[in-house]
């Protein structure tokens, strides 16, 4: 258990989630095994880095046959906490919030929304994807009666800090922030911004490169 508790560096975790996404695609296409070299090529990492990252999750590949796709996927999922059942609540049941409540998180990421909270009376007291949407004022009571691992912020930017404060005040230590702003929390809480822009960066940079290729072709 000592090994499981050691703090993994953030860059390793980000790479592991990239491997995981790729492996899900391979699983989907019924690919059975893959070498660390191929994984490295697909993501533009160095093979030695891929092997080191996978070793951290407890995997050792065989020199000739590589890794079993299903086994690696499972090992990364366990390492990332996606094989546990995490209970989440969501604040803000607008378009983005509704989309998040409807997303299939549970199967692949072990994330289960148990309730949503909404400051607008008109959008409270309904069900979205079978998840109850309550008035925000009910949250402190709810938090006392339920295990809440993660609070998801999907309110407009100007309301995000207030929601973060409420989450922290009610003992929620994991915050996943989808609002396009930064929130501050005291030590002990973890905030992760769900950055759409991270994948946009690859796309727009590749477009810059291809435009320049066309305008200034290599000799």
């Amino acid at each position: 258990m000592k090994k499981m508790a050691s703090k993994a560096p953030a860059p390793v975790i980000r790479r592991l989630s990239n491997y995981h996404h790729l492996l899900l695609g391979l699983k989907h296409r019924q690919v059975q095994s893959i070498s660390s070299t191929t994984l490295a090529e697909m993501l533009e990492y160095k093979p030695v880095q891929v092997r080191k990252d996978l070793q951290l999750t407890g995997l050792v590949g065989k020199p000739r046959t590589g890794f079993q796709v299903a086994e690696v996927e499972e090992s990364i999922r366990r390492f990332l906490g996606w094989s546990l059942d995490s209970q989440a609540v969501l604040f803000g049941a607008g378009n983005l919030g509704s989309a998040l409540l409807n997303h299939p998180w549970r199967e692949e990421y072990g994330l289960r929304f148990i309730a949503a909270f909404e400051s607008s009376e008109a959008r409270a007291n309904i069900l979205i994807n079978n998840i109850p949407v309550f008035a925000s004022s009910y949250f402190p009571t709810f938090a006392k009666e339920h295990q809440v691992d993660i609070g998801v912020i999907a309110v407009p930017a100007e309301a995000a800090q207030d929601v973060a404060d409420v989450l922290v005040a009610n003992g929620i230590r994991g915050i996943w922030n989808f609002s396009p702003t930064h929130v501050k929390t005291p030590l002990g809480a973890t905030v992760e911004d769900a950055l759409f822009a991270r994948s946009l960066a690859i796309l727009t940079r590749r477009l810059v490169e291809s435009r320049n290729d066309v305008e200034h072709p290599e000799p």
Copy 2:
């Protein structure tokens, strides 16, 4: 121009988008300058890697004063193609699609939605955030008459491949996929999956670590 056209490795682009996000936060908090060492610490990278990454965008820090936050932010933005005006269309004007159309992409990422397309007649022929939503069947005509750099997929998983095929058939080379599935495209098109799970990984792993800390405290 030769330098701008060279292909940046994907891991460098991902790191640059992480620096950029952090710098936006610093700018917001009126922080004027930052050292590569501090940037490295905040993201758990090695300082030498941060310096190398920033150099690729054309920046050189001064040993004592570090970098000007605004200057670095601008330099990364230019490198990632976010200072250009990119024109995008979106397929699927449901909850997620509506949230994306309402998101403030333009100011920080240079991304401008010029139209959305929807297979459901009931959701077509409306405006969302002043962006026209057309019936999907109109897209081939629209694509001939407008410059479309990026096609965003926000339809349900089962419809995503069809939309990708339509985008490619109409000459769109950049695809940003928000549907929870994989789409295949021919060579020459770039597909990026907008992976919400990438930031979830950090959050859930930190929760695993803190749970184990509590259950198995260090001696």
